[in-house]
């Protein structure tokens, strides 16, 4: 393997319904179509060396998904960005590519910033619910995981939670229908606290219930910046010493 390239990509619009497995098949095919010299594992059934870090759940859109590709000969990150983007279906969009300088990308993804669009919710009711959630020490929620029903705290990992200004129109909603946008920063923890866990928490502490399923988007993912309290660009480290 000559080089590892880190890719930031977005999952947008209707392609937010892709699962992690759907994306990995799409990326493998795009890599082949784009003639990217991807490295393969050894053995009877060789697999392309593509790894994924912190994928957003099915149904959740994202502006900050990350993967890493191992290649057999050095590639120009700018060209790879353009080639891979052209080969992926519209809605899976490549945003940034850097050459990896270490092996610590997954560790650097300490937290995420999420945006939640809640149709049919009154902004004042939402503000009140957010206030109560933030004021609580613990908010116990339950979620069905692969290991069965798990009960855990959804509060501690939430570093900030705010109601955004200006109600907007959600896709598929009547223009005059109310709609609230929440924004939050959540630390990655085990078990992971996902946006729907926070929504469950808001329902539990204040009875907040959107009329139809919320539209959730991950806006950023990266090392948590102590001063801003938000995720920074995880590629900053790879770019030290000059962007190519």
């Amino acid at each position: 393997m000559a080089q590892r390239l880190r890719v930031r990509y977005a999952k947008r619009g209707r392609l937010r319904f892709t699962s992690h497995r759907d994306i990995s098949r799409a990326v493998e095919r795009a890599v082949r179509r784009a003639d990217i010299p991807v490295a393969y594992s050894a053995g009877f059934s060789p697999h392309p060396k593509i790894s994924y870090a912190g994928a957003a759940p099915t149904g959740v859109a994202s502006e900050a998904e990350y993967l890493e590709i191992g290649v057999t000969r050095p590639c120009d990150p700018h060209r790879l960005r353009a080639d891979l983007d052209a080969s992926l279906p519209p809605g899976l969009d490549v945003l940034d590519v850097v050459e990896a300088r270490d092996s610590g990308l997954a560790d650097r993804l300490e937290g995420s910033m999420w945006e939640l669009l809640l149709p049919g919710v009154d902004p004042e009711v939402a503000a009140k619910a957010v206030e109560e959630f933030v004021a609580a020490d613990r908010v116990e929620v339950e979620r069905l995981t692969k290991k069965g029903l798990r009960r855990f705290d959804a509060r501690e990992a939430v570093l900030s939670l705010t109601v955004q200004d200006g109600p907007e129109r959600a896709a598929g909603q009547e223009p005059d229908r109310l709609c609230v946008i929440l924004r939050m920063v959540v630390r990655h923890a085990t078990p992971a606290v996902r946006p729907d866990d926070v929504l469950t928490g808001l329902r539990l502490v204040a009875g907040l219930a959107p009329l139809s399923p919320p539209e959730v988007t991950r806006l950023a993912q990266g090392p948590l910046d102590a001063t801003t309290g938000e995720p920074a660009d995880p590629f900053d480290f790879d770019r030290v010493g000059g962007d190519r």
């Binding site: 098949r25 493998e28 795009a30 099915t58 279906p89 809605g91 896709a171 598929g172």
Partner: protein
């Protein structure tokens, strides 16, 4: 009049259903054309779940061919799972296409491809969700023409009431011709409404319009005759045959789904038709004659398909792929081209022949030699003569010996149960055969690390085959034989652990038999099943035999016929069969003679290598066998 996308109304439902990605479209190489610029609009449906329907070659080919026409557009629609169906009903969202999420009812044609009869209930769901009246006679000019194709359309009688039209055979040219008829009729201002356009289609003899034919019955329930009920409608409808496959190198732009589907590969049909003459095989009978795609076109299609799709597997499709006259050069040429590229090649549908091992070796050059599949179909020598599967036990043992000695560790054997004239001993013979296969493997390798899997399915007599007159075996007998075979395999101390056994129970075959050889009266059963919640009959978790039997009893009450009459009853030579007016080119007397030969264990050779045996297809249809060799070879790809 433009049509709005249903997606904004569908989108809020998607987070509530399983695998929502299957409903959003956006596949690589999919096409969305401007609604207003097309004068003829097709919705193409595969009546099963997206994961089964998306890879279907027939739909992909027609989708591409129709979209290439400047004034025609085609979109795709699939059966929605019951979870989404319930939500669509409660929210009033109609059946939609996945391409631009347009309502199916707004199209001119709803073309449905039936590979199997078990998709019939899903057709009714789609019509109902689309807001299209189920009965063709209730439809207005606002409804699309509901058109069936695919192998099951060779006897569309059980769904005749729900169809406006059906076509038999290869779809490429007839789809274009139908588009042209509709375009002209619309340009003229749609004179005479839907009956006139249906009449224009029917009068060609190449499109079957069921409502233009009346079926008359004898008092005992048999059909007396099927006759046109208006002037200008031909008494027979003929099948369509594409004669030069090199002129139709589709798919050129294979659809690459985001959702996981059953075939994650690029498939090239290397030839169409088969004249091996296996008597149970409807596909082999109705797709004659053999028409090969040339080695060079195959090579070009593979190269283009891999580039366009990014798939890492190529399948060479046909009814018996190793029979291509230049398959050896195709295999070697492709294996050379793609060596070291992590592209794998597969060759489904092969026969019992040592030559196949050479091919399989070429295709597994860099990979693991895991499993090989053969289909002797019959468990005894006599049974194989009855079905005209010309494989001797010696052939099979010699072939598997070669396979095991060249490093293959697992052999899978396909069989059928419930074949005409079958007795218990014929099925139990499978156990002996499997043991001999294992012993041959142990002898060849000197190791106990060889396995064999026996996979067995229930036989269903099909229209347009020599077995169309045969009595289907009842499910109690099939199940008993399958159990006895299981015990014979599992109970064997010496070999039992080396032999795997896969089988299904016999009840679904009875329903398939009812639909395969049914007539228009079976449509009532189908409708009753659907009204009782019948969906996705090809899926064991959705299929209910009891529901079908309940519905049949109710729907056929007062008729002199029942499920047994349609399935386990043997037909007389001159009984009018429901599909006799639909012409696959096969001479009825030849079919009957072949049925008689089956009963006296007489075999028939393949007409590609021996003289014509007058099955009737070529002279009736004006076609001929098209096979190589061309003598050409595949050249290495130039490295870019």
């Amino acid at each position: 009049m433009s049509v709005e996308s249903l997606f904004p109304r569908l989108e809020p439902l998607l987070p509530k259903v399983q695998k929502p990605i299957q409903y959003v479209g956006g596949e690589l190489n999919s096409t969305v054309k401007d609604w207003d610029e097309a004068s003829v609009r097709w919705a193409l449906m595969y009546p099963d779940a997206y994961e089964i329907g998306l890879p279907n070659q027939g739909v992909q080919i027609l989708y591409e061919i129709l979209n290439e026409l400047p004034d025609t557009m085609a979109e795709r629609t699939y059966a929605v799972w019951p979870d989404l169906e319930a939500l669509m009903r409660s929210e009033g969202v109609p059946q939609f296409t996945v391409d631009a999420h347009r309502p199916v009812r707004a199209f001119d044609v709803l073309g449905v491809s039936f590979s199997t009869e078990l998709g019939y209930t899903n057709l009714l769901t789609a019509l109902d969700l689309a807001g299209i009246p189920l009965d063709a006679v209730d439809r207005t000019d606002e409804d699309p023409i509901v058109l069936a194709g695919g192998h099951a359309a060779f006897n569309p009688e059980p769904i005749a009431d729900f169809l406006d039209a059906a076509v038999l055979g290869d779809g490429e040219q007839i789809a274009i011709a139908i588009s042209e008829v509709i375009r002209e009729w619309k340009e003229e201002g749609s004179p005479g409404g839907r009956d006139e356009v249906l009449m224009r289609l029917a009068s060609t003899g190449g499109v079957y319009v069921p409502k233009f034919y009346d079926v008359e019955y004898h008092p005992d329930g048999r059909i007396m005759r099927v006759v046109p009920n208006r002037p200008g409608v031909p008494s027979r409808i003929f099948k369509h045959t594409v004669m030069d496959l090199d002129e139709w190198p589709y798919p050129k732009k294979p659809l690459v789904p985001l959702a996981e589907t059953v075939h994650e590969r690029f498939s090239v049909e290397i030839f169409r038709g088969c004249t091996r003459g296996c008597r149970f095989c409807q596909a082999g009978m109705i797709t004659r004659p053999v028409r090969e795609r040339s080695i060079t076109t195959i090579g070009d299609m593979v190269e283009n398909g891999i580039r366009e799709s990014g798939f890492n597997e190529v399948g060479l499709l046909s009814l018996s792929s190793a029979d291509h006259s230049e398959i050896g050069d195709v295999a070697k040429g492709l294996a050379d081209r793609y060596e070291g590229t992590n592209t794998s090649l597969s060759l489904p549908s092969t026969r019992v022949d040592a030559f196949n091992i050479d091919l399989a070796n070429e295709f597994s050059r860099n990979g693991r030699r895991s499993g090989l599949t053969f289909a002797p179909e019959g468990g005894s020598e006599r049974m194989r003569k009855v079905i005209n599967k010309m494989v001797t036990e010696e052939d099979l043992i010699r072939t598997v010996t070669t396979a095991y000695s060249q490093g293959w560790r697992q052999v899978k054997l396909y069989f059928m149960c419930g074949l005409p004239t079958e007795e218990d001993v014929d099925v139990l013979g499978i156990a002996d055969l499997a043991k001999k296969v294992i012993q041959a493997g142990r002898d060849a390798t000197g190791s106990k690390d060889v396995r064999c899997t026996v996979s067995i399915g229930g036989f269903v007599p099909k229209p347009h085959t020599p077995f169309q007159w045969a009595a289907q075996c009842d499910h109690e007998t099939v199940d008993r034989r399958l159990r006895e075979l299981r015990d014979a395999l599992r109970g064997d101390k010496e070999y039992g652990r080396a032999i795997g056994y896969r089988y299904h129970d016999g009840k679904p075959s009875i329903v398939e038999g009812l639909l395969s050889r049914g007539d228009r009266r079976v449509g009532r059963v189908l409708r009753a099943v659907w009204e009782d919640g019948g969906r996705f009959d090809g899926w064991s978790e959705h299929f209910s035999y009891e529901r079908w039997m309940r519905a049949a009893e109710k729907a056929l009450a007062g008729e002199p016929v029942d499920v047994e009459w349609y399935t386990t009853r043997e037909r007389e030579e001159h009984e009018v069969l429901p599909w006799d007016h639909l012409d696959a080119g096969l001479d009825r007397e030849w079919l009957w003679q072949d049925w008689q030969d089956a009963n006296s264990d007489v075999e028939v050779e393949d007409c590609r290598w021996t003289p014509c045996y007058d099955c009737g297809v070529c002279p009736t249809m004006g076609t001929e066998i098209q096979i190589g060799p061309t003598g050409k070879k595949l050249l290495p790809l130039t490295v870019v």
